[in-house]
């Protein structure tokens, strides 16, 4: 196990926001909240998966709701702890380790206030290897680990426990509760044993985010193009560089859905998103698609969240391979193009 102090949180927030592919929550707020917890309670211990005992009890923590609301209605700070303790009470046994449900600017750091204040280690892992918009879109679903029970807590001290039939119902019911709470809440769920965590979750993603965040800072100081550096770090490629010339936002009650059109180098690029970036097309042809990572970065290598895309921005669009689990038939059924209503076939980046 190693300690993570305030300095490393900055790198994790930036790197995780890149891996969050346009979603995953605001990295600035995520970092500040985690920093306050670390300053108050001391550094957080991060455990590698191989360090977790078989009989450990692990639970995931993450934000649920609208990132656009969170940047306005800032957290009270205790939401994650309340959700965690509510879950623990329902389970009736002490939870020994926490882990981020997804990688994202806010979500990678969501377990830190719990870990810092209760003295629990955070697992260097997550359940997506990136961010996805819905609760069921986790590797746990592939391996039969249920979001049961699931606790949701808001900033007012409200909390709710759900006993769900499956992970799709978890999404539907937790979403309804969150909307009632004012659209931002913290959830804790996916209880699993240490062995399950080791077998199922995607390892090393906190460390990966920290490395990526450090890389951005370093290449900037060296005046190297950060977008190229990020692409090669992720084993991906810069798919497009250009200017946002149009952002069309669909009128969808559930998600920040829409598309952006970019122009540059005599070509055009279309980006479709549902909180996260889902599909990138170049001159009408799909060049990257879920579940692969599509990251939008500004010239400084700073990730641009989907809800902040706007006319006139100069951005680079990166594609990078997703975790291999998502490339299996079951993985693609859960988070591939068809899961989002697309008819195109998935063509893996990197030609695998």
């Amino acid at each position: 196990m190693r300690e993570i102090g305030a300095d490393e949180l900055r790198h994790i927030a930036r790197g995780a926001a890149i891996l969050g592919t346009g979603g995953g929550g605001d990295p600035y707020i995520g970092r500040l909240v985690a920093e306050q917890a670390v300053l108050e309670y001391g550094p957080v211990l991060v455990a590698e998966l191989h360090e977790v005992p078989d009989d450990a009890l692990v639970a995931g923590i993450g934000m649920i709701g609208a990132p656009t609301v969170m940047i306005e209605k800032l957290p009270a700070g205790e939401e994650a702890v309340t959700a965690f303790l509510t879950l623990q009470r329902e389970i009736g046994r002490p939870i020994t380790h926490v882990l981020p449900i997804e990688v994202g600017g806010m979500n990678s750091l969501a377990p830190f206030p719990v870990a810092a204040s209760l003295g629990l280690p955070v697992l260097d892992a997550d359940c997506m290897g990136r961010a996805f918009p819905m609760v069921q879109m986790v590797v746990c679903t592939l391996d039969g680990v249920l979001a049961r029970p699931l606790a949701v807590a808001d900033e007012k001290g409200n909390s709710i426990v759900l006993d769900v039939h499956d992970n799709h119902w978890a999404e539907r019911l937790a979403r309804s509760a969150t909307i009632g709470m004012g659209c931002t809440a913290l959830m804790s769920s996916f209880p699993m044993s240490g062995k399950q965590a080791r077998d199922i979750t995607i390892p090393g993603t906190l460390t990966l985010a920290a490395k990526l965040g450090r890389l951005v800072e370093r290449v900037r100081q060296q005046h190297v193009d950060p977008c190229q550096a990020i692409a090669s770090f992720l084993g991906g490629e810069v798919l497009f560089t250009g200017k946002v010339v149009d952002v069309m936002r669909a009128n969808d009650p559930g998600f920040a859905k829409g598309e952006a059109r970019l122009e540059g180098d005599g070509a055009s690029c279309r980006l479709e998103f549902q909180n996260e970036h889902l599909v990138a097309s170049r001159d009408g042809e799909v060049v990257a698609s879920v579940p692969d990572l599509i990251c939008v970065l500004d010239a400084e290598g700073e990730p641009v969240p989907a809800e902040r895309l706007r006319y006139g921005q100069r951005v680079a669009v990166l594609g990078a391979p997703c975790h291999p689990r998502w490339r299996t038939p079951e993985g693609l059924a859960l988070v591939g193009p068809s899961a989002f209503g697309y008819s195109h076939a998935y063509s893996p980046l990197g030609g695998q």
């Binding site: 209605k73 957290p75 936002r249 559930g254």
Partner: protein, 523 residues
């Protein structure tokens, strides 16, 4: 006929403009009290071109005075931040992530109170009037004179911020109040930060506004007085008293718009080489391209509309050094002491200006004092400058297509005619006054940025009303109605929300009414 004035850190520049013609120009040294410099500049204009003060329709001033006050931490009021939002937002109280020094200078008085709204206008918790009266007692005891009031989702509804102000000012009558719902965009921390900075500048703004009014009145000019804003538009003096923070980035904006005006280009890069820094920005449709991410002001994060400008410490006053590792130019500058310290003025500091004079690019001071400079050194410095500027231009460009570059500012003599990656280098007439001209040709704008409930069948109607509100705001701010155009409409549905709630931003700009502008009431 109108007058544009740019008050920079080193120089105060003024131009007299009629339509598209520059009638007169004058460069003087900035003075500590600002107004003396302006009086000197106006006298200089009179000397260059005799004009009738009563014939001046408007005076537009761009100033770095307020941003410098924050950077240097001087002239700032003791300020309190009162936020309405409990129990939400407690994790990140006002002043979180501020630089310690600036926080100390303005007192850092932070109050978290009940109130605030949900995204849909429901109240998070009711306002607690006794709690606010307690805050009033405390700030009165601490000698706080200016307060920034912020509330969660105050862009959805500003009522609670206004009600809180009523309670505070009932207890502390002379308190200056700045409202977050009038100042920033969505994003509570950034909006609150901007509101706090604004509050800290309010007293200074009163002094400056009074001083400017007096200095113009003393010259017999009673035309309305405007200040340049960050986005190239104008605000009147009464507005500036309340929103001084909106002047922050007007310097680079003005030089860029001035460069566009003088060159006749709408799409180009503008390089402004001043005494201390070089700013490189891009123009799109004649307006500076805005920074896409959050803008840091003196270490404080805000979400202002700011031009996307790269600034490097390279200018006419930059100190030149020969070191083992090679030549360095800047980032330190002799600034306004150029006329004492540089070699051409008999000083003992080698500056970029001395190099320019030695190379025959400029005639400043006594060229004889630099005629013995090593020619190799002169060439090496010029190469270094050229390379630095080419790098900045390259960082700003978005495509490999040829990019015209407009060169402005007093220090631009340093830049050679050939710069790598630049298709066309234009040095327009009056280029040394681009910033003052940019102030003189500014426009006025209006913006709406709020969450709307959008019925799918009435979407066009809602967006039209948002556009109209932006147009009305521009007209109310002084734009000629037939010149106002919408430059931006943006709709962001709030993820997961019922009822189709969307954040809509619409922005309109137009030409300032100049001919029949009402005389300034407060003279």
């Amino acid at each position: 006929m109108h007058i544009g004035i740019d008050v920079g850190g080193t120089n105060t520049d003024a131009v007299l403009v009629e339509g598209r013609r520059v009638l007169a120009e004058c460069k003087t040294t900035t003075t500590a009290d600002v107004t003396t410099g302006i009086v000197n500049a106006l006298n200089g204009l009179q000397a260059a071109q005799n004009f009738e003060p009563a014939a001046v329709n408007a005076v537009m001033i761009g100033t770095t005075h307020f941003v410098n006050a924050v950077v240097e931490g001087r002239g700032l009021a003791q300020t309190a931040a009162v936020r309405l939002g409990l129990p939400a937002t407690k994790a990140l109280p006002p002043f979180v992530d501020w630089p310690q020094r600036l926080r100390q200078v303005i007192g850092g008085h932070s109050y978290l109170c009940h109130g605030g709204y949900e995204y849909d206008g429901r109240v998070i918790s009711p306002l607690d009037e006794d709690e606010l009266r307690g805050v009033a007692t405390d700030i009165a005891a601490k000698g706080v004179r200016s307060v920034a009031i912020s509330s969660v989702f105050s862009l959805v509804n500003g009522d609670l911020e206004r009600r809180a102000a009523e309670i505070l000012t009932a207890e502390v009558p002379d308190l200056l109040v700045s409202f977050s719902h009038e100042i920033g965009r969505l994003g509570l921390l950034e909006r609150e930060n901007a509101t706090i900075i604004n509050a800290a500048l309010r007293e200074l703004a009163e002094q400056i506004a009074d001083g400017l009014t007096e200095s113009l009145t003393a010259q017999g000019i009673d035309a309305p007085l405007y200040l340049s804003q960050n986005d190239g538009t104008l605000m009147d003096l009464e507005y500036a008293r309340c929103y001084p923070v909106a002047t922050f980035s007007s310097g680079p904006t003005n030089s860029m718009r001035g460069g566009a005006f003088l060159s006749g280009l709408d799409e180009c890069a503008v390089i402004d080489v001043g005494g201390t820094t070089t700013d490189v920005g891009m123009l799109h449709n004649g307006f500076p391209r805005e920074a896409s991410s959050e803008v840091m002001i003196s270490g404080v994060r805000t979400n202002f509309r700011m031009p996307d400008v790269l600034s490097i410490g390279l200018g006419g006053g930059s100190v030149v050094r020969e070191q083992k590792e090679g030549i360095s130019v800047g980032p330190d500058s002799v600034g306004y002491r150029l006329a004492q310290q540089s070699l051409v003025f008999g000083g003992d500091t080698l500056t970029a200006t001395d190099i320019a004079v030695a190379a025959g690019l400029a005639e400043i001071g006594d060229p004889g004092l630099v005629k013995n400079l090593d020619r190799k050194l002169v060439d090496a410095v010029l190469d270094h400058v050229c390379e630095q500027i080419a790098t900045q231009v390259d960082r700003m460009r978005t495509s490999p297509a040829p990019l015209p570059v407009v060169l402005v500012g007093g220090g631009s003599v340093l830049v050679p005619d050939e710069v790598e990656g630049v298709s066309e280098l234009i040095r327009p007439e009056h280029h040394a006054f681009a910033n003052a001209i940019g102030a003189a040709i500014a426009q006025v704008g209006g913006e709406v940025d709020r969450v709307f409930t959008i019925d799918p069948n009435r979407r066009d109607e809602v967006l039209d009303s948002a556009r109209q509100e932006a147009v009305d705001k521009a007209v109310a701010a002084g734009a000629r109605a037939d010149s106002v155009r919408i430059v931006e409409v943006e709709e962001i549905p709030l993820a997961y929300l019922p009822g189709n709630a969307s954040r809509v931003r619409a922005r309109a700009v137009g030409d300032l009414v100049l001919e029949d502008a009402p005389r300034r009431a407060r003279a």
